[in-house]
Symmetry: C2
């Protein structure tokens, strides 16, 4: 197969031909037509994951064909039977198993789902990780309801933009934060009520003032110093779901606010097979298309990675995979 | 009625005779036989609650008689119809309405429940606040299950000792922390597997080592610096329920640990009418008796308050109410 192999160092990823062993019982062989990046791919190249052995084919998101069947891949490998938590041998596609930055892949058959018909190949490849992560965080964990006021911190990444689309589709009032005025405007273009720049003095009070009230649900991928402020601006019985921690550890959190308002602060990662199916059903029902920020050719994967490193994207950074 | 009125200053509480208006429709007149203290009573005297008008009869916990019927009082006044959160006009008995440090009280009829037959008057008065708070925190919010490993931080207070009894009754493995070796020993006398002194260096690792594994559920009334350590020692999908914050704000909390383990950190306060009834049923079924630390006469209420201020109690500080 033709792949971009991550070899580390200055070379980053380089083109390589690999021989694939034929699929075993219960495995499917997929010819990939598109792939997409996640922050995880970047963190792996930065040495933030243990146990990386080079060379490695990165990539957790992919869509393609099994003979004439159009499919997308659920990247949660071996979640197991418990909807509440993944099994001990759970892994995310792309480490240690070879991932989707390749024209072919072998994955468990149970991870194969039909590609939603309203999505292009690029859109389909953009969906799996951010779709299932946003769905589990918002719905399964966060119990999002129509009409509620939801805040998405740090809009721009895949999960955050997907949560925005989900919230708008189900008639929530969606608000965002960002360090970029341009991203706030883009979020409004996609249906957000508004947002504030979290680098501005007093951003949190300005946000509550603009929103006309406190929040019922927060989807947070940041943590850090802003988190405690958000707890202050929750409605009673509000829920905060944490799916990432790019801003570092959380400080100065008031236990009194948490117990008196009976808040739920919950962690969420990826999703169960049921979450994945429910996400697909929701996406099909509401004809949701993931927001695509950049599309590169497979062999331009290092340029795509540079966008991930910059954090400048709004939506997904994708790879178009040529067949030779 | 004969009451101990909180008048503030050096006098604290003083004996006083008050004329009660006759009960209105929907209200019950209870002749009190016993009352009990909560940390709340102490905090009120320390000016930690807004809107206190003196003189005030303190006290949220009480048991007594309505004619020949033996009753205890649910101190959650006006919780309302939503089991998830109390209504806007919710209040806890003893502020602003006159509380239980008195030989008579008028409360809503819906807050009257039959006194469990296996409890003495003092034990019955010790039950309501800590019983319902521990029950909601552990069961309704914390989803405690038989066989799970539970940690109760800062053992000694009413809620913590009641959570200990509940956990032992339902065959959980219960562990505790305290700054007092004597309290750890007392907890073991009541069925705890063991505990550590949180003032010792490396207490958290020592605790996990003693316990032979990580925790499924933590009942925490402290917050503060120890909290982040505890998050480190949770099992995947563990739950931490916060019902107090005596150690202050929480720092250095890792979002990565929260999302990867899919933890739930939840606040809980008091309980709904359903929680109160379920708590009583549980207490009757398991013949649980609240742990009584000190008993004073009503007119010794200032001495009882001094114990609350010291934090030296293990279990409830109670008042025996004489009839004249």
């Amino acid at each position: 197969m033709s792949s971009m192999m991550f070899v580390g160092g200055e070379k980053g990823m380089i083109p390589a031909e690999i021989d694939l062993a034929p699929p075993k019982d219960g495995q499917a062989f997929v010819r990939l037509l598109a792939a997409a990046f996640n922050k995880r791919d970047y963190w792996i190249t930065q040495g933030k994951y243990p146990g990386v052995k080079l060379p490695l084919v990165l990539g957790s998101d992919g869509a393609g064909m099994i003979d004439q069947r159009e499919v997308i891949i659920n990247p949660s490998i071996g979640w197991g039977d418990d909807p509440n938590y993944f099994a001990d041998d759970f892994k995310i596609l792309g480490l240690p198993d070879f991932g989707t930055f390749s024209d072919m892949i072998i994955v468990p058959e149970e991870n194969i789902y039909d590609k939603p018909g309203h999505l292009s190949w690029i859109e389909a490849a953009a969906l799996p990780v951010c779709g299932v992560t946003a769905y589990r965080a918002m719905m399964t964990r966060g119990r999002a309801k129509k009409g509620e006021r939801m805040l998405i911190t740090g809009i721009g990444g895949g999960v955050a933009t997907m949560a925005l689309l989900f919230g708008v589709a189900m008639d929530m009032e969606v608000w965002v934060t960002s360090s970029s005025e341009e991203k706030i405007q883009k979020a409004k273009d996609h249906g957000a009520m508004g947002g504030v720049n979290y680098k501005a003095e007093g951003w949190d009070k300005a946000l509550v003032s603009q929103a006309g009230g406190r929040f019922d649900l927060i989807i947070d991928g940041a943590g850090g110093k802003g988190f405690a402020k958000m707890v202050h601006h929750m409605n009673p019985r509000g829920r905060i779901v944490i799916y990432g921690g790019t801003a570092g550890n959380i400080d100065d959190l008031s236990p009194q606010r948490i117990f008196w308002k009976q808040l739920d602060i919950m962690g969420s990662t990826m999703g169960s097979p049921e979450d994945f199916q429910n996400m697909l059903d929701f996406v099909v029902k509401h004809k949701i298309k993931p927001i695509i920020s950049h599309v590169f050719n497979l062999y331009e994967a290092n340029e795509a990675m540079a966008v991930m490193a910059s954090g400048d994207q709004f939506g997904k950074v994708c790879l178009d995979i040529p067949w030779e």
